[in-house]
Symmetry: none
Subunit: 153 residues, 2 copies
DNA sequence: AATCGGCTCATACTTTCGGGTGATTTTACC
DNA sequence: GGTAAAATCACCCGAAAGTATGAGCCGATT
């Protein structure tokens, strides 16, 4: 009727069966071999140890591990992707953005040219276009404004 | 002799004592009230249940909690005033810091010279010293590094 | 008195940047 | 297939930035 019942409680049922069998076995053994007057203490101690172990095992198997949640502070990073709107508004092209990003890293025009596999002159052209679109006169200002506008990562 | 031993194993010792007392109590009870021929199964079952419970309890007590680290976002604006230590470490003087700050605003050497009422050459000297102390080659890199180190507001 | 660090300035030189102009080639789109 | 935007490159020139070196001044330290 409820097919999930067994699968959900199968471990419990299994352990119950084991316990029952163990009890039966114990009774069988006790009848045949034990003399209770002398060994009662050992017998009880053995059972106690056995079932303590069983309990521990059971608990470890069934109990969900406790979780301690540690909150770790990390700087918020909200910016990324706010740039596209501004980029479109200012009409800054992909290539220009690349140049701008390398400029922001402090690379010289020559370095940028090497990194982008273009000539120095091309980089200069891009840079000039960037300056015009950002309405600045120097690369340092361009970088500053770009960061303020969220154009850079 | 080993003072740590007790504190380290006190739970184990405690549970052992409990178990011993329980055994003694059981024996006392069995002598006085139980008739084993009829109630052996119940007796054993009782012990089994008791110590299973004890085992479970033990396990729950002793299991190490699992720690989960959750990253929590926090507004990233903690820096201001962290700078002095780095400034001292790098040996950047007051004047050099002034130049650095104006540089970070995108001002040219000439502008900086005017604003600080010194000559262009002086600004260049400061700039060169700054670059050396920050181990960079260009003003843009200097500004970047300075911001990363929290030297600027 | 001597030393040292910070600040100032200078000269001379090299490199990089930025402005202006023009041109060719890709790329994308109608 | 024509057009427009983007990307590429070139040349010139002046300005700015950076390098190297030396030097004078001043306050604090020893």
């Amino acid at each position: 009727m409820k097919p999930r019942f067994f699968s959900r409680h199968k471990e419990t049922i299994f352990y119950s069966l084991i316990m029952g069998i163990a009890l039966f076995a114990l009774r069988f053994l006790e009848i045949r071999f034990f003399v209770f007057d002398y060994t009662m203490e050992f017998f009880v101690a053995g059972i106690a140890l056995l079932f303590t172990a069983l309990g521990i095992w059971l608990a470890l198997k069934l109990v969900k591990p406790k979780t301690v949640i540690v909150e770790k502070m990390v700087p918020a990073k909200i910016d990324i992707e706010i740039n596209q709107a501004e980029l479109d508004r200012l009409g800054i092209s992909k290539r220009e953005l690349e140049v701008l990003q390398l400029m922001a890293k402090g690379h010289s025009n020559n370095e940028i040219a090497s990194e982008l596999f273009v000539s120095l002159n091309t980089v200069k052209t891009h840079a000039a276009n960037i300056f015009e679109k950002l309405e600045v006169a120097r690369r340092t200002q361009a970088v500053e404004k770009a960061k303020k506008l969220g154009l850079l990562a």
